[in-house]
Symmetry: C2
Subunit: 153 residues, 2 copies
DNA sequence: ACGTTGATGTCAGAACTTTGACATGCGAGA
DNA sequence: TCTCGCATGTCAAAGTTCTGACATCAACGT
């Protein structure tokens, strides 16, 4: 089969739970869980909140833009957006003069819902930030980005 | 019209995409995507591979053990395990002399499949590791754990 | 001995996400 | 001009995961 591992073991750790990937997944799962719990009180799912946050910052994003921004497929984003539309939190143009992308905007209700949920989510992020020395946080962000790019994203 | 920020901004970044949570999610999504793609050639999903890896290291784990180890619910783990059982990659005791947990073990086929997939996954992890200076990796792992605990996991 | 608590396995249903496929619209190059 | 490539929006189907609920089993304290 393979002449697959001519190099020494890729990492010193024997235990799988010591691998970077495992820790990354664990941290991400913890964050997702905390956000889920916090957002439930605001009747929002994590993907829904993510979309609202992105739209607040960059009004007029399209379905595909939001899919990329929330790391899901266009189809998934479409479902999420339908929920937000039905809840009256966003509006989407029904036509456009150029291209196919239909720009989306927050409604007043969407703004309000977002602002309510935001404090809950920011409190979670605050917990993460406080747990890490400020200087390390800079390096941490850089390293996360570096790894992301190394993975081809 | 909100008194929306009674507290000072929890973090210096204005852009949501600069937040730790966002970067974490992004890195995790990139990893998941890379693993998905690599594992597809071995007819395994990420959760399936995770279970095999855990079982290889700690034979006899139960459904609930694997659920905790892969960060999903017992119900999800149950479905994954059913798939692995149907594929003949694992065996689960049908009874036990103590308690309710039914210990699970890899079959020879499971071992083989795992070993094949492992090199593909390790290559991905290798890409991540190589992109980060060795000294920083230690700090990175520690910080990921610290954040995870700060989130209550 | 007995009830309580906690962990586990399981079923059923809903919700979410993905893969696959197809139609539409813009832009670059023959 | 016209075709090709590419991005987008959308539908359908399958797979995955979750919430909620219930039964079983061991350990603990009364």
């Amino acid at each position: 089969m393979e002449d697959r591992a001519p190099v020494p073991p890729p990492h010193p750790a024997e235990d799988v739970t010591e691998h970077v990937g495992y820790r990354l997944k664990k941290a991400s799962a913890a964050l997702r869980g905390a956000m889920d719990k916090a957002l439930r009180e605001h009747d929002l799912t994590v993907p829904q909140y993510s979309c609202l946050e992105l739209l607040d910052e960059q009004p007029g994003l399209s379905n595909a833009d939001l899919a990329r921004g929330t790391f899901v497929t266009r189809q998934s984003a479409n479902v999420v957006l339908r929920g937000l539309k039905d809840a009256g939190l966003i509006t989407q143009a029904t036509s456009t003069d150029h291209g196919r992308a239909l720009p989306i905007h927050l409604t007043a209700a969407g703004q309000q819902r977002l602002h309510g949920a935001r404090s809950a989510v920011y409190a979670i992020e605050q917990r993460m930030i406080e747990s890490i020395p400020a200087q390390r946080m800079t390096a941490l962000l850089a390293d996360l980005d570096t790894m992301t790019e190394a993975l081809g994203a």
